[in-house]
């Protein structure tokens, strides 16, 4: 009548299914989605992670020439979309669980970046590392077609100034040259 359950119970009686947890650390499979962390070395401060974050857990604040990227995994969905979006693989979901804490603002990983001033209007608009990264990538793709100084001139101009009438011709020249190179 109760044969099966007694058999199973006897099996468990001899060998419980419990993992002795505090002594044995739990098993984390590869690519487990734990709390996200920034690598301040590689992060370029582009803000792609904040753009794709479904729960707005990643915030970007600019203040006094500093750009602060902050991921508060108290709000995180642990979906790893930031990891996917990151162009330099800087934000990573750790393969650990997040440890509890009495302060909810402990669950933060942040990076700070110096920003670049606009060549023309003097406003802060992008991080130094971002500009460097773009220059590096463009140089890799383009070779010597564009000179560094020209590229820097372009990249150190904030989007608003780029669109101003008096600045347009010089930038257009640069873009034309890039396009011609592409077609070739």
């Amino acid at each position: 009548m109760k044969v099966n359950i007694l058999k199973e119970a006897a099996k468990y009686f001899v060998k419980p299914a419990t993992v002795p947890f505090p002594a044995v650390q739990p098993h984390f499979p590869k690519k487990f989605r734990g709390p996200p962390r920034y690598d301040p070395e590689t992060c370029i401060g582009c803000g792609a992670c904040a753009h794709v974050c479904p729960s707005d857990a990643i915030t970007v604040t600019t203040k006094d020439g500093k750009k602060i990227l902050e991921v508060w995994f108290g709000k995180c969905t642990f979906c790893a979309r930031c990891e996917e979006a990151c162009p330099v693989d800087s934000i990573k979901l750790m393969e650990i669980y997040s440890t509890p804490s009495p302060n909810k603002f402990d669950f933060v990983s942040r990076v700070e970046h110096d920003m670049v001033k606009c060549r023309i209007c003097g406003k802060y608009f992008a991080t130094v590392k971002h500009v460097e990264w773009i220059i590096k990538n463009v140089r890799e793709k383009m070779g010597e077609t564009v000179s560094i100084s020209e590229l820097k001139n372009y990249l150190m101009t904030c989007p608003e100034c780029r669109h101003k009438v008096e600045n347009v011709p010089s930038f257009r020249k640069l873009l034309m040259r890039v396009l011609v190179k592409e077609v070739k």
Partner: protein
Amino acid sequence: MCGLLCKLAAWARKKSPWIFHLPAGGLCNGCDIEIVAALTPRYDVERFGILLAPSPKHADILVVAGQVTKHTKERLLRVYQQVPEPKAVVAVGSCAISGNVFGTENYPLAGTVDQFIPVDVYVPGCPPKPEAIILGIVEAIKKLEGETRKS
């Protein structure tokens, strides 16, 4: 004499924390099932003396999951008042901490748990692994123990 009794009480509180599981609304049940999973064979919190109390009146630790909706606000407060002193509150999951994807501005939501009742420990995760929930409860026990020492 009181010293001994207090020590005994502190020990007892450490060894027998009863939890009451309270879904506070605005949640996806993910945290709920992970809290229940912590009771089941693989994790088995009973070996630490943790028991799921059927009524808030028997509990020491309130394990809250999810965000507070306008419907559940009063009930949350009522359940919190029913827990006898000393008590601790553990907020489990991203929703309980900050609202997660649901945000805090949406019309049916009243706010996060800590806006209504004092929360002692936060367990991040969406949902947290049962191990993390156990660690969170352990953290809350420390708070209970400390309170006994003080009084």
